[in-house]
Amino acid sequence: MKFQFDSLADFIAMNGHGPFVWAAYAITLAALIFLVVSPVLQKKAFFKQQEKMQKIARQQLEGQGAD
C-alpha cells in the first residue's frame, strides 16, 4: 500500500476532481457529527428541564409543610 499522490498539493487537487471529492466528504462529515451531537445536546437539555421541575415540586411540597 502506498500514498497515491506525488505531493500534498497533488492530493488536494486530485487531478481536478478535488473540489467534488472534498465537498462530498465535508458535507458527509458535517452530517455525521450533527447526528451524534444532536442527541447528546437533547439529553443535556432534558436533564436540565427535569431538574428544574423537581426543584419546583420540592419547593411546593415544603411550602405546604410550613402552613
Binding site: 467534488f20 471529492v21 458527509t28 442527541p39
Partner: protein, 247 residues
C-alpha cells in the same frame, strides 16, 4: 418463562440501563473504522482507471446508501412489532430511526449528485435508482411529519407504523432499479452471491467504511431511542431517580 426475555426487551427502563455501557464502545469502534476507511479511501486506494479520483466518493456514498436502506428495514420492522405485540419500545425505535434515515438518504443523494457531475456531466438525472432513493427520502420525511401530526402518542405511533410498512414497497424497487432499467447509475459493485466487480485494493477500504457506518448507525439509533425513552417515561420513578442522581 421462555418469553421473559422478549417482554424484558419491551421494557424501556431495561433497555435504557442495558445499553448505557455499550455507548463508549460503539463510539470508539465507529470512529476508528470511519477514520481508517476515509484515510485509506482518500489517500491509499488506487485511482479508478476510468473515473480517476472522483470515484473516491464511493467510500461515503455506498455506506450511506446501505444504511439508508437498512435503516428503513429497522424502522418498518419496529413498527410491525409495535403493531403486533403492542409494545412501547419498538415504537420509540421506529420514531428515532426516521430522522437518522432521512439524513443518511440525504447524504447518499448529495454525494451521488456531486459524483455525477464529473462522471456523467450532470448533477441530477431522473434515473430509476436516483428517483427511487428520492422517494425513500420523502418517505422518511413523511414519517417525521406524521409523528408530529397527531395529538395522541398512540395514534401517531400506529399511523406511522402503517406508513412505514406501506413504504416497504419502495425497497425492492430501489434494489432492482439498476437491473430493471438500464440507465445512468452503475449496477451494484459489491455482490454477495457472485464475484464483486471491484479490485480488493478498492474493496477493503469500502468494507471498512460500510462496517464503520453500521456501528455508527447503531450508536446514533441508541442515543436517539434513549432520549425518546426518557421523554416518554419522564413521570416514572426511575427517570426521576436518574435525574436526581445522574450516573
Amino acid at each position: 418463562m421462555a418469553w421473559q426475555w422478549f417482554h424484558r426487551l419491551g421494557s424501556p427502563r431495561w433497555f435504557y440501563e442495558k445499553t448505557t455501557p455499550w455507548l463508549p464502545w460503539l463510539a470508539v469502534i465507529s470512529a476508528a473504522l470511519i477514520i481508517t476507511g476515509i484515510v485509506w479511501g482518500l489517500a491509499f486506494a488506487p485511482a479508478d482507471y476510468k473515473q480517476g479520483n472522483s470515484y473516491r466518493i464511493i467510500y461515503i456514498h455506498v455506506p450511506a446508501a446501505f444504511l439508508a436502506l437498512a435503516g428503513y428495514y429497522i424502522m418498518a420492522i419496529s413498527g410491525a412489532v409495535g403493531l403486533i405485540w403492542k409494545m412501547k419500545l419498538p415504537y420509540m425505535v421506529m420514531k428515532s430511526a426516521a430522522p437518522i434515515g432521512a439524513i443518511l438518504t440525504f447524504i447518499s443523494l448529495v454525494t451521488g449528485s456531486i459524483w455525477g457531475k464529473p462522471t456523467w456531466g450532470t448533477w441530477w438525472e431522473w434515473d430509476a435508482r436516483i428517483t427511487s432513493m428520492l422517494i425513500l427520502f420523502f418517505l422518511y420525511l413523511g414519517m417525521i411529519a406524521l409523528q408530529q401530526a397527531f395529538q395522541h402518542r398512540d395514534t401517531a405511533d400506529k399511523a406511522s407504523a402503517v406508513l412505514a410498512l406501506v413504504g416497504m414497497v419502495n425497497i425492492p424497487i430501489i434494489y432492482k432499479s439498476v437491473d430493471w432499467w438500464n440507465t445512468l447509475h452503475q449496477p451494484a459493485t459489491i455482490k454477495f452471491t457472485s464475484k464483486s466487480s471491484i479490485d480488493p485494493s478498492m474493496l477493503y477500504p469500502l468494507l471498512v467504511m460500510v462496517i464503520g457506518f453500521y456501528v455508527f448507525y447503531a450508536l446514533v439509533l441508541l442515543l436517539n431511542t434513549r432520549i425518546e425513552v426518557l421523554r416518554r417515561e419522564n413521570r416514572t420513578q426511575w427517570v426521576n431517580d436518574l435525574v436526581a442522581n445522574p450516573k
